[in-house]
């Protein structure tokens, strides 16, 4: 927290610097501003960040990027893919930044640049309401548990499973929504996902699903994702600046309150993620 003013200054300097090189042809921020459009890739089955509510794409990400767009003076164009295709799409240059969000992990940090955290991502278990056979995370040993394909939550579940007396029967779904649907259908007894997500689902489907506390995963955070190359640096710096500004003036807390029913105490940057 005390680092905020320093970061602000640093980001301000970075923005100044990026502004001075904005004329460079390959600079993505300059291109985005010239086109007036920021392309954002995401999947739409990750409530409450991105989901389809009666046909409309809504969620925290939509609201966050609307604000970020205002800060940058550009419109937001959404490109929605299955999650498995989102990070490859980013690398292929299909969009400028990924909403997602993605859990900030060591392995991903080697390959991608994360924005300032926007929410907590610690993994917990969602079960069917009233299921007495699961009262603590360890109770999923030997049972069928759903999780999203190519996700950090999957990696954490796998790691947790290895510590249990009998392994978890892990089922990988294209999207977490499919996993919830399959829990409703009875093929899996639980779904492992980040707390903000399952808290939202449990609230939306009260009487159907229930969160099992405490979370079993290590404390982690969600951030937006960009590539590490120099061309994208100015854009991601600008996105970071916008997020931190929203955090500073209380807009982010308001949005968290709107979508999660609670506020998260997130750091300004994650340097050394727990996983």
């Amino acid at each position: 927290m005390q680092k905020r003013s320093f970061l602000k200054a640093a980001l301000g300097a970075a923005m100044l610097f990026s502004a001075s090189v904005a004329a460079h042809a390959d600079d993505v921020l300059a291109k985005v501003k010239a086109a007036g459009v920021l392309k954002v890739g995401t999947e739409t089955a990750f409530a409450p960040f991105d989901f389809i509510d009666a046909g409309d794409h809504v969620g925290l990400n939509v609201d966050m990027f609307a604000e970020i767009g205002k800060e940058l003076g550009v419109k937001i164009e959404w490109v929605t893919l299955p999650w498995e295709g989102v990070l490859p799409g980013l690398e292929a240059g299909k969009f400028d930044v990924v909403a997602g969000p993605a859990t900030i992990t060591k392995a991903r940090m080697e390959r991608y640049r994360f924005s300032a955290p926007i929410a907590e991502a610690t993994v917990a278990i969602l079960k069917k309401a009233g299921d007495a056979s699961i009262t603590k995370p360890q109770d999923i040993a030997g049972k069928a548990v759903g999780v999203g394909k190519a996700t950090a939550q999957l990696a954490q579940l796998t790691e947790f499973s290895a510590t249990l007396p009998s392994k978890v029967d892990i089922r990988e779904y294209p999207a977490f929504n499919d996993a919830y649907a399959d829990m409703a259908a009875g093929r899996v007894v639980a779904v492992a996902n980040s707390l903000p997500n399952i808290a939202f689902v449990a609230k939306q489907r009260a009487g159907m699903f229930e969160v099992v506390l405490p979370p079993f995963g290590k404390p982690t955070y969600f951030g937006f994702v960009g590539t590490k190359d120099a061309d994208h640096k100015s854009l991601l710096d600008a996105v970071d600046a916008a997020i931190l500004k929203m955090k500073g003036d209380g807009r982010m807390a308001k949005l968290q309150e709107k979508w999660f029913g609670t506020k998260f105490d997130t750091p300004d940057a994650v340097k050394d993620p727990a996983i």
């Binding site: 893919l81 295709g85 292929a92």
Partner: protein
């Protein structure tokens, strides 16, 4: 299931129909070139055409779409979702349509060609006035079939980010937990589209010269 949800599916069908129609048309033009190459008798033209057809008939459309969407940027062609979907479906249907057309050209009765020769048609005239109309007439039912196949295959373009009927149904089913109602409605919309095409095909066949009266 509400009317609003059904309406969303109907709206999404515009994407299904649009992408399929454009792909069929582009695929047809490509198929003309490919079938000409196949029938040219020159290995220089035939081999690449055979290679193309073998690849696009040998790899699942799902994989082709992913390949086109993610691979093209690395050769400097960063195409948006809609273009990737159309390219993928056009190339795939071109491979199938080319085989159909080749079959059609090969079934043009030899006697007709010889007769045209006798009355002094130039090779160009023989091709344009005899071979093309007859081959198209012969392959028309196969073209209608292929159009239906492509309409159904378009359910896969969601992997490159197009929200057509199937993807919309998936999104709605996972947010409403009404999978039976929603997927059945989607199936119904596909049926209406496919049956309309089949029906139009049958009318077209009758209207074409040489059709069953």
């Amino acid at each position: 299931m509400s009317f609003k949800l059904f309406n969303l599916l109907v709206q999404a069908s515009a994407w299904t129909i649009g992408i399929s129609a454009i792909s069929i048309a582009i695929g047809f033009l490509l198929a003309l070139v490919l079938s000409a190459a196949l029938l040219s008798g020159k290995a220089l033209y035939r081999r690449p055409a055979e290679f193309f057809i073998s690849f696009f008939r040998g790899v699942p459309l799902l994989v082709q779409l992913l390949l086109i969407y993610n691979l093209l940027p690395f050769i400097g062609l960063n195409v948006p979702s809609i273009v990737a979907a159309i390219i993928g479906m056009s190339l795939c249907t071109a491979a199938y349509q080319a085989e159909n057309l080749r079959g059609g050209f090969e079934s043009v009765p030899r006697g007709l060609v010889e007769a045209a020769d006798m009355v002094g048609f130039t090779p160009r005239q023989v091709f344009l006035r005899i071979k093309v109309p007859i081959a198209l007439r012969l392959t028309f039912p196969a073209l209608v079939n292929e159009a239906i196949m492509i309409l159904k295959s378009s359910s896969l373009v969601s992997v490159v980010g197009i929200v057509e009927i199937t993807r919309m149904a998936q999104d709605l089913a996972s947010s409403t937990y009404l999978p039976i109602e929603i997927f059945s409605s989607a199936a119904l919309i596909y049926l209406v589209i496919c049956w309309s095409v089949a029906l139009a095909g049958r009318f077209g066949e009758r209207a074409l010269p040489g059709g069953a009266k």
